[in-house]
Symmetry: C2
Subunit: 299 residues, 2 copies
């Protein structure tokens, strides 16, 4: 059996996603250069593109094509990027570096960073609505996607998770509180990315349900491994400092249950994610390979 | 002929709008009290409710009902409120008072204000999508509303206007630049409010076109009168300080063309707005009365 080549798959999907994103935030096509530049600066700064890749892979797993899912992929990446820009603000996490580059408010200024985030969040919905209107056959499907994305990103999902994360800083928290906070802060958008891809790809309710379970477990494993890498990762491979969580006394999985138990929990999550895909055929190979990668990744 | 009673109309519509808004941001119904409290603090702080009233009045002018337009009305008011919260931030206009109350970041804190704004912006789209899905007959119509609102609020509309306003501060600007900046910063959302109401109310393309013209002229007149009131308004009636634009050396209509010429321009805009409604029947009386009010208002 030929092994699935994840690295080549990711590279191809990232190219498609970046071309589609670029068409929406090309600074040379905007009259207001500074705003468009700030949006493009953060949106085109690389990154894993995990959410949009998951969106496309989910669409493909139910028999849809990349093109069906691309608007959803762009929208989730725009929302992810806006959340990073606002989380990095001085009033929030006050981070000056992201992916080795100055954060948006450092490269531009704080007001521009607030507005670039606002603009990307708003643009995500324009992308989806524009796409839905161009496809006469699926307005209801696009509305459902917009409802899922706004719910996952808003005050019942990601924004609430960020509020709870800030409230928890400095305070000790229980494992269940930590799971709950991550389920909102990062999990909701990951689950939405997969669900949106599955809907745009034409998946049945049963398939969508299974894919959401996959995404929930994957998101949790991703977060646990993030915490583990902060303890024992190699800063040279990661491209960023490690040990920062412990220094900040952050509540993390390794801090609450130890490194080995954290790894075992992540493994159990990935097993559960893969189990959710057991009825899926080879079109789900990218999703399976991503799950395996989340567990093995070094950065 | 019985004169149309605008004051009673506004009072009834505001009651409907506030009841509908409250259902979406009731802090007692949210688990995260602080975020919901900050959202409700700013959203339920009163204000003229000009945009949502225009949205409903536009729907009624083409034969639609209040209920058809209420989700659109809530969405535009949520977006207007988010823009006020973010504009008031220390990194932007750094305002500590709004409508006589401490601004959101003063009453809560800066991070909460950023997130409350983000949450209201996102919730606006959830409101529309939820409504569109509950009405099987009009998914395409709701998608069109979402496209219009996201376009008017995003990097091609309101957010861009705020960028240009900040860039213009301290610099002298021409009348056309001022018009252009206001058309984006405040005009785009006012026009969208009316257009959305007209669509949800079932207006024809011709009616929608005329209503957009009305809204464009009304928005311009509103801004000119705002500037005039800052020069010669009564601080006791306005509930806020006057003369602040001149103190800040802001480019305004009175500064660029004088108070009397500004008033004449506002009058011409309102005449043009009323002219756009000449084929409309008595169902457009609220829109006509609002236009007259914009010219006469003292606060």
């Amino acid at each position: 059996m030929k092994l699935f080549d994840l690295s080549s798959y990711l590279s191809r999907k990232r190219d498609s996603i970046e071309a589609a994103l670029k068409a929406w935030v090309d600074p040379t096509a905007h009259e207001n250069h500074r705003l468009a530049e700030a949006m493009a600066y953060s949106l085109m700064a690389g990154g894993k593109r995990m959410r949009p890749v998951l969106c496309i892979a989910a669409a493909e797993s139910v028999g849809g094509g990349e093109k069906d899912a691309l608007p959803g992929a762009c929208a989730v990446e725009m929302i992810h990027t806006y959340s990073l820009i606002h989380d990095d603000l001085p009033a929030m996490d006050d981070d000056t570096l992201r992916r080795g580059k100055p954060t948006c408010h450092v490269a531009f200024d704080e007001a521009t960073a607030v507005l670039a985030g606002d603009a990307l969040l708003t643009l995500a919905f324009e992308v989806l609505a524009t796409y839905g209107l161009s496809r006469g056959d699926r307005p209801g499907k696009t509305l459902e996607v917009i409802r899922i994305l706004s719910h996952a990103a808003g005050p019942s999902g990601m924004v609430r998770g960020q509020m709870e994360d800030m409230a928890a800083q400095g305070a000790s928290c229980h494992l269940n509180q930590l799971r709950h906070m991550h389920a909102l802060k990062t999990g909701a958008l990951i689950v939405a990315s997969v669900e949106i891809g599955a809907i745009l790809g034409g998946g049945s309710e049963d398939r969508i349900h299974k894919l959401k379970h996959y995404a929930h477990e994957l998101g949790l494993a991703f977060q646990i491994i993030d915490d583990v890498l902060n303890v024992e990762g190699d800063p040279r491979i990661m491209g960023k400092a490690t040990g920062t969580d412990s220094f900040k006394k952050k509540s993390t999985y390794p801090a609450l249950m130890g490194v080995e138990a954290s790894k075992a929990l992540a493994k159990a999550c990935i097993d559960s994610a893969l189990h959710a895909l057991k009825d899926f055929d080879t079109k789900a190979e990218p999703l399976r390979a991503i799950a395996a990668y989340v567990l093995e990744r070094k950065r």
